[in-house]
Symmetry: C2
Subunit: 559 residues, 2 copies
């Protein structure tokens, strides 16, 4: 009886179903839990001061000994970035990853103190591993980082394919072309459920091949006589490889700048996932020793990140790289939503300093690593799944992906769009949502605090950022009930104090009047009432004078 009741699989996405990033999914069968990916997400604009967000793992509390392990699909931080925050809380578990992914995980651990030793089993294309009731097979899929693997998971209810992030590319650079024959054979094993990534589901057509990008970059390299300074993401190993190959073709030395990029290149080079000729790399401080036409700098900061190399160059703060006429600057990455304005400022600054600027909106020098509609449909045709679950994307992307699956002939009732924290029940005959929902609100990481910053702290930060704050310290004589001397006012982010002496004087006068009226009447004083009065009346007064609403914090001290 017990067996029958439980003979279904529960799939619980803890993140990745309402955003791009934060990917982490649980597969639970008879209480045993397999985890796929453990990524972080970037904080929204409504989360000032937050370093990153991680999936909520409350559901795993008390179930630690049932966790079979975690499979990491590839080495991007939205798939591995939460490991140092989560593993210490659930204890050491078996981990499975490709060689490069493993290298990137282990390198990152060095940045965190007091981490348990990780036990990562290395898997490669075709590798098979049994984890409890699950049999997992890795199969290669193209992305913009090497060693990216889709998962074929044999479960007691049927076969599941999880695509990881992917694109189809018949002529990639630094990678093997997509093996459609292999994918077809996987599909022929009979797929009960396809879980396919959705980042590109709202974009028509097919993603660009890296070969196209390579050719366009080649045109720039061919023409340019001065230095080339190219920025990309530190994690786009394949793009970095392209820039290295082209530099070697045109006899340019290459300086890699930016800590994260240097680190990634080092790992990839050690693991033979990036190829560099002897003598190509030079130190940035030595770029002056070669003719301009023989120099390429590859660096971080194409998103306009505040402390990254690109921004330091633009602000003339970089120790070794000073822009000059004749330099060519290449933005070889798309702009992450929200960063457009900052990137524009950066571009303008490069123009002003006389550089020639190329960016991906001018020509195809960047390709997304994510399948667009034609590829997503092809994946569905290759896998021919009975059930379909779009994963990894904003809700609108999942909805569009579900529509694509319907266009490909999957029956509507066999397609599910699920949110973070929903529990998906899968049997050989049916896919459905349980009524149950597990906690999935974002856990915010801020400095050493994991999850301690909540709504209250965030709201305060937002209020403080709008109109600043205004602290009023009043000393009251316990004997007379009267204010002693002039109240102290500490204000920041509200008005420029030196030019607001009149306002402060008037405010002090009002503070004294309010406190004396309330406290000076004799008898016991209700101090919390006095503070409320100060907050309200001084708030209104300041608003009437400035139309600003600083956070008012009254302190009354009896001496």
């Amino acid at each position: 009886m017990k067996k029958t009741q439980q003979s279904h699989l529960r799939i619980i996405p803890l993140g990745g179903q309402e955003e791009v990033g934060l990917n982490m999914t649980l597969f639970e069968y008879e209480r045993k839990i397999l985890i796929v990916d453990m990524g972080f997400g970037f904080p929204g604009e409504d989360m000032p001061g937050i370093d990153c967000i991680i999936p909520n793992i409350s559901y795993l509390k008390g179930k630690e000994k049932n966790i079979l392990g975690v499979v990491l699909t590839h080495g991007h931080y939205d798939h591995i970035g939460a490991i140092p925050y989560i593993i210490p809380r659930i204890g050491p578990i078996p981990m499975y990853a490709s060689r490069l992914t493993k290298g990137m995980i282990l390198k990152r651990q060095e940045d965190f103190a007091n981490q348990p030793k990780l036990n990562i089993e290395e898997l490669k294309d075709g590798s098979n591993v049994r984890v409890g009731p699950f049999q997992i097979e890795f199969f290669r899929l193209n992305h913009n980082i090497p060693d990216n693997f889709g998962l074929f998971i044999k479960t007691p209810v049927g076969n599941i394919v999880h695509t990881s992030d992917f694109k189809f590319d018949e002529s990639p650079v630094n990678d093997i072309p997509t093996d459609f024959g292999k994918l077809k054979r996987i599909g022929q094993r009979g797929i009960l459920l396809l879980m396919s990534e959705s980042t590109g589901a709202e974009e028509e057509g097919h993603s660009l091949s890296e070969e196209t990008i390579f050719k366009n970059l080649d045109k720039i390299f061919e023409k340019v006589r001065g230095r080339i300074i190219a920025a990309s993401f530190a994690s786009m190993i394949n793009r970095i490889q392209q820039l290295i190959i082209l530099s070697e073709k045109y006899k340019r030395k290459v300086a890699i700048e930016g800590y994260s990029m240097k680190t990634n290149v080092e790992i990839a080079q050690n693991l033979k996932r990036i190829k560099v000729q002897k003598g190509t790399f030079i130190k940035t401080k030595d770029i002056g020793k070669f003719p301009d036409s023989k120099i390429t700098v590859i660096c971080t900061g194409a998103q306009g990140e505040g402390r990254a190399v690109f921004m330091r160059i633009a602000n003339r703060e970089h120790k070794f790289i000073h822009l000059k006429k004749g330099d060519t600057v290449i933005f070889s990455s798309s702009v992450v939503p929200g960063n457009e304005r900052t990137v524009q400022v950066l571009k303008d600054e490069f123009h002003r300093q006389g550089a020639k600027v190329f960016h991906y909106r001018m020509m195809d020098i960047h390709a997304s690593g994510h399948a667009k509609q034609e590829e997503l449909k092809k994946m569905i045709r290759l896998m021919k799944p009975k059930f379909f679950l779009p994963v990894y994307g904003y809700y609108s992307m999942l909805v569009r992906h579900a529509e694509l699956a319907e266009e490909e002939g999957i029956r509507r009732e066999n397609i599910l769009v699920a949110e973070n924290g929903q529990v998906i029940k899968l049997t050989p005959k049916r896919i459905s949502l349980e009524k149950e929902k597990v906690p999935s609100n974002y856990v915010m990481v801020d400095g050493l605090g994991i999850g301690d910053v909540g709504e209250v702290v965030l709201r305060d930060r937002q209020v403080l950022s709008q109109d600043g704050m205004f602290v009023i310290v009043t000393i009251v004589d316990r004997q007379t009930g009267k204010v002693r001397s002039s109240p102290d006012i500490i204000s920041r982010g509200f008005v420029y104090l030196r030019e607001s002496k009149e306002l402060l004087k008037e405010t002090r006068k009002q503070v004294i009047a309010i406190v004396n009226r309330a406290a000076g009447s004799g008898g016991a004083v209700n101090w919390s009432y006095v503070k409320d009065e100060l907050r309200n009346k001084i708030g209104k007064f300041l608003f009437s004078k400035t139309k600003r609403r600083p956070m008012i914090l009254p302190v009354v001290i009896e001496v």
Copy 2:
């Protein structure tokens, strides 16, 4: 002699050369100054709490009586929005605008107290007005608001054409098609300088005709059986007109929601710049009285603005509009850079509530009001100017526009790319930059304050938003030099205080130790040294415990 020295024109852009928005340009001849446009700009992400930015008018100080007047090209706020902030400071000056622009300016004045009465002369297509040494003629150009006019300015040094914002449209909706014959005739008068807008200079091809948009919207209207809720910009009068025409075609009643949109529609309707059949408009509270298939709501908030109608609908906070299955939501505007994430959240929420969502990336239901490369080149061919000055755009757009002009055969030395505050000298023979630069740093508007918020206040707001603040109030006994009772701590946006009792206890202990050590030694106490000590040591202590850096504000009071 004096005459000869001054027989050149000075063109001084106070804004609009380093951004989209903030448009304001001075034309100065023999000390007489003509102004074109007086717009505001949106604050950057590095300007928390700021309402808007306006051009810096320091240069006009002391020259008030030399100002001849201001010409407003059209009614968008990036061209008229700074009027209520600037006019009171330079005194009443003659103003020139089209009927709709005038209506929008006057309506907006009602939102501001103590404004001088404006004296606006109404101009229309072909209108001529002499303003000091300048003869100005209005000529119609298409944009996404009616009554948009380019300027033909006859100056003592030669003829100047200023395009305002524009696009070429041979089949616009709610407007007259572009009159290329007329433009050609203007060009034949001999144009010394063309000043042409640059917003679309980095985009290939030709902007979409409003007819295309109209047809695509028609397809949606034709298919949909439920309610249609469409959002756009309040200022996109022509798009609003399209949605009204389509609603009337399909016998839908129209409710306009959102204060700014209601106001604009009212003005445009009164001035016959928008056509609405009798009985089309209904009040939003009455939408329940008609079948769903007969209802269109046109509203504000397609950018995800916090308090706009769209957001209130998404958050289920709107009094009359509650989303339900069968509703169709249309985003008929592009997403302003920086708003992508917010708009995504909005879209997802509509999806979750069961609505069908259409947005401009899915099909062409939005067209920019700005000319793209093919149109910009055509404008240059029509005007055949001797000199070319790209205006209105980010620096990278100006640079690209300059390249386009060169491709069209303008000689490189006859093209100038200028920044805000630079002084352009124009003679019949030469265009050049003066060494002089006039103040052009942004003036920030925050509540009633114009320009009082500066770097210090902004930086404080940014710091406060990151890790909050931490006020320490310590009372010291003047007699003993010792801390009296436990220090008060007021902290916001740093940690959740209730869960940080240990941290606070430990902090108080350290505060007492620091103050007692410094103050208790007898003799005169250097309180500013004590405060520095508190700031540094407590700052370090809190960072060691949390890796956060709240703003530390020590208050020491002797009693």
